[in-house]
Symmetry: C2
Subunit: 301 residues, 2 copies
């Protein structure tokens, strides 16, 4: 029976799916494209070796940093606005031992005022989401992928009109791991304090979205109001996510739905931050979206 | 001839001045209060030993983290609003080998909405600035100390009404040293590119003060618009300082003057960011302000 290899090959890991008749049957992991100790072909051959014992796949479809300048083969950024068909046409096509390989293109956009933005990997999940939730494919909606670099795409009748990256997750990690904000109090984790801090941070961001002028409150509250380090961590998370959600939704006044894609615990935080907006909020599993997006790339050269 | 020891004893270093008849004659440095390998008394004795050979000082006056809970002797935070006399009364007083020691109190404030803020050391420079620039001591003005944790004090008729900390300098250092924003391009320093990036960052912050949604442009412009790492570094600096200045001045609509205290190169960046506000901007040397502030503390127990 025929099968295909679908993969999300990012900077820090490779995730491969063995897909048979559109259904993922097995999965495996390998090293990220940013940390290879051999050529990408060699690493991919190794990752696929067990599955290939019963026969080669009909095609290999990949998304993520594998298509960047420092990846395997560069799939240049395709410019927004773009729909699924245009994106599929922009993919890089090559072969591995005679097996057709498709690497999805990243997307670029230029916002009013000339600011540039890029994504690589998330576009696959966004086009996949449009397949999985038909309600998203007509009208104007937001599709958000919370994470290290959160992406918010503005989608109109199935076309990605533009998008914006929020540096939320990485900023949070920098503040948590390297800043002086978290050095004032004890470090015992307390889920209740953390949740309270998250709510306080959201409320603060709603009053003032300039995180640069509110972050220090995480430390001052530990020194002056008896707050714990867990509270402060939650506060920073609420502050950053609240600011992101406030700015992103304010800029998209015409949208009626928002679909969140990603880790369920993180998505739950964004759902809470979005509760006050009045938008219809839905969510989708990241893997399901990636697979549905890779489906669109086609297989043959 | 009588002399006094004035000192700014922060987390990372001790800076001591030998003051004779209100004039600093000599200076020396020692280890910060956050990195001592002996008791604070011992370290201070060592730092003062050479000067004491010709006789003990009449008094020792200190400001900074030396007065924190983890310093030498805690000088609790005094609450805003507070004037120089109230602040001087709040100082901690002790002695070292019979020499009177005064440690200036830090300040705390609670903003509308309940947010807490603290400073320790900067208040001495602010009260010193009010001595050095009489025009600041009547009417409503802003005194800003750009730095790792920038402080903006709201001063009315010589009283510090409240203040706000911006996490600008530390955020910039985190982004420069630990983030993925600076990993895209070459790392050759280019002062011209850096200056151009700073201007672009200021302009961007004027359009949008939510740094969380604009920081990633530093990376995207390297990937898409041929910008150098130097440009990106300048852009981030402009973005953060522009956001800080925008938020701080918007919140102080009644102020007519702003006085900047600190490192001249950093102050020059803030002057550029403030050019569009129409405020009268002056600047003062940090050491001169600290010494003038310590002067206010009085010497005797």
């Amino acid at each position: 029976m025929g099968w295909q290899a679908f993969g999300d090959w990012g900077t820090s890991r490779l995730r491969l799916f063995r897909v048979e008749q559109d259904v993922p049957r097995e999965r495996c992991e390998g090293p990220g494209i940013g940390a290879l100790d051999a050529a990408p072909e060699t690493v991919l051959r190794e990752a696929l070796a067990a599955w290939r014992r019963t026969g080669d796949p009909d095609a290999i479809r990949l998304t993520g940093m594998v298509g960047s300048r420092n990846g395997w083969v560069e799939a240049p950024y395709a410019e927004c606005p773009i729909d699924a068909a245009g994106w599929a046409r922009s993919a890089a096509r090559l072969d591995l031992d005679g097996i057709p390989v498709v690497i999805g293109a990243g997307l670029a956009c230029t916002r009013d005022g000339g600011a540039h933005d890029v994504m690589r990997g998330e576009e696959t999940q966004i086009f996949g989401a449009l397949q999985l939730q038909p309600a998203l494919a007509t009208g104007r909606h937001l599709i958000a992928l919370p994470g290290t670099h959160s992406k918010w795409a503005d989608v109109e009748n199935g076309t990605i009109v533009g998008f914006r990256t929020f540096f939320t997750g990485e900023t949070f990690a920098l503040l948590r791991d390297h800043s002086t904000l978290m050095r004032a109090g004890d470090m015992q984790a307390d889920a209740e304090d953390e949740a309270a801090g998250f709510g306080d941070g959201l409320a603060r961001a709603a009053q003032d979205s300039s995180v640069i002028g509110t972050m220090f409150e995480a430390r001052a509250a530990q020194l002056r109001a008896g707050r714990t380090a867990s509270w402060a961590l939650g506060f920073l998370s609420g502050l950053l996510i609240g600011s992101e959600v406030g700015v992103a939704t304010a800029a998209a006044s015409g949208a009626t739905r928002i679909c969140l894609i990603g880790d369920p615990r993180l998505v739950a935080r964004y759902e809470r931050a979005l509760a006050a907006t009045g938008l219809v909020v839905t969510s989708l599993d990241g893997d399901a979206c990636a697979l549905a997006g890779l489906e669109l790339l086609g297989g043959a050269a």
